[in-house]
């Protein structure tokens, strides 16, 4: 595998691509095209650096670490671009004072998660949504397990507060 054996690379790809893609999809705010591009970039980078992988962490952890890095960097670029696009949009779209429509649960939940500080959102997404353990998150993000737990608690607290007015009973 370390010699660039394409068959072994394909085997590695087949084994890990689903989880990489799922994580990329979540971090890409549900944009399937971006998730595909991120997943592709993850494996391109991983295959290039496979010789540097020393096996002192699980291969999956290493891949997830690259995934988080690629997705977050990619999203920063996307957000910069979208902000520029928004600047170009009609002023009446940005500044319209039309009637407020109460967003549905999906939109509200999405907005609440998107409104989390990035460091909380990543941990919440990995733990509560995608089922990573705190050990896996700590290894992938290069931080102690306790930090992962603390960030998750803060993320949940913020979401609880954010959704309380809208979702009432089930968050209390």
């Amino acid at each position: 595998m370390l010699d660039g054996d394409r068959l072994a690379e394909r085997e590695l790809y087949e084994k890990h691509v689903d989880r990489v893609y799922r994580l990329a999809y979540r971090l890409a705010d549900g944009d399937a095209d971006l998730a595909r591009d991120f997943a592709q970039d993850v494996f391109v980078r991983a295959f290039e650096r496979l010789a540097e992988f020393r096996g002192d962490a699980a291969l999956s952890t290493w891949l997830h670490s690259i995934t988080v890095s690629v997705a977050l960097n990619g999203m920063r670029k996307v957000k910069r671009w979208r902000a520029r696009e928004a600047d170009l949009d009609e002023a009446d779209v940005i500044g319209s004072a039309g009637p407020r429509i109460e967003p549905d649960l999906k939109a509200r939940l999405r907005a609440a998660i998107a409104g989390l500080p990035l460091k909380y959102r990543v941990v919440f997404t990995m733990y509560d949504v995608e089922g990573f353990t705190h050990d896996e998150i700590g290894s992938a993000l290069g931080m102690p397990t306790g930090t992962s737990k603390a960030r998750l608690a803060r993320a949940r607290a913020r979401l609880r507060a954010e959704l309380a007015e809208f979702a009432g009973e089930w968050v209390s």
Partner: protein
């Protein structure tokens, strides 16, 4: 509801409301293969200088083959088209599926070229090269599509193919090549033309 239960409930809700589509395995694998085709293998430092020279020669040859050379002052720069004139067809069909693809491609390419000088200064040439190699594939697909027959798009796509090919083969520290690429972009007004086209394709008339 305790914290863990709350987290589980939220997780369930997110998964229910935002189901992840099936992984496009073949598509991703094809993209990986395409991106890697454009990447040069690691070479020893000793051979790198020779390869840089050959690369420069190859780039110049490619430029001659396309009928232009990317050196400063070699020819009058192409005029900047008008979105309502030259890119009228793009602007008129903004929102149609094929033009949405073109708009997305143009936007991504504009971002790359705008980021290129800073990216190479910060030592991210390899990252920029990887990004360019993906866009190069898209460029070639567009050239072969009906969009590539558009009289205003064809020369722009041709210039973009050249500049992306140059960037895709770039390595960190290849300053001579970087300077040539930046000069080419400037002299041929690539970014300005690209912005007009991107605006037209996005339906904003390129007025940024």
């Amino acid at each position: 509801m305790n914290e863990d239960r709350f987290g589980e409930t939220l997780g369930d809700l997110v998964r229910d409301l935002e189901a992840v589509p099936e992984t496009p395995r073949d598509e991703i694998w094809a993209g990986i293969a395409a991106a890697r085709r454009f990447r040069r293998p690691e070479r020893s430092r000793r051979t790198r200088a020779l390869v840089q020279g050959l690369s420069l020669a190859a780039t110049l040859a490619f430029g001659f083959a396309l009928g232009r050379v990317w050196t400063p002052g070699s020819a009058a720069p192409p005029p900047i088209p008008s979105p309502g004139g030259d890119f009228a067809s793009l602007n008129a069909h903004a929102g149609a599926p094929q033009f949405r693809l073109a708009a997305d491609y143009l936007a991504r390419t504009e971002e790359l070229l705008a980021d290129f000088p800073e990216g190479t200064r910060e030592g991210r040439a390899s990252d920029v090269a990887g990004w360019a190699s993906q866009l190069l594939l898209d460029t070639r697909l567009l050239i072969d599509s009906p969009t590539g027959s558009d009289p205003a798009m064809a020369p722009l796509l041709s210039d973009l193919e050249l500049v992306l090919a140059q960037i895709a083969s770039l390595r960190d520290g290849d300053q001579q090549e970087i300077t040539l690429i930046i000069d080419g972009i400037t002299q041929n007004r690539v970014l300005a033309r690209l912005r007009v086209a991107a605006g037209a394709a996005a339906g904003t008339n390129g007025d940024d």
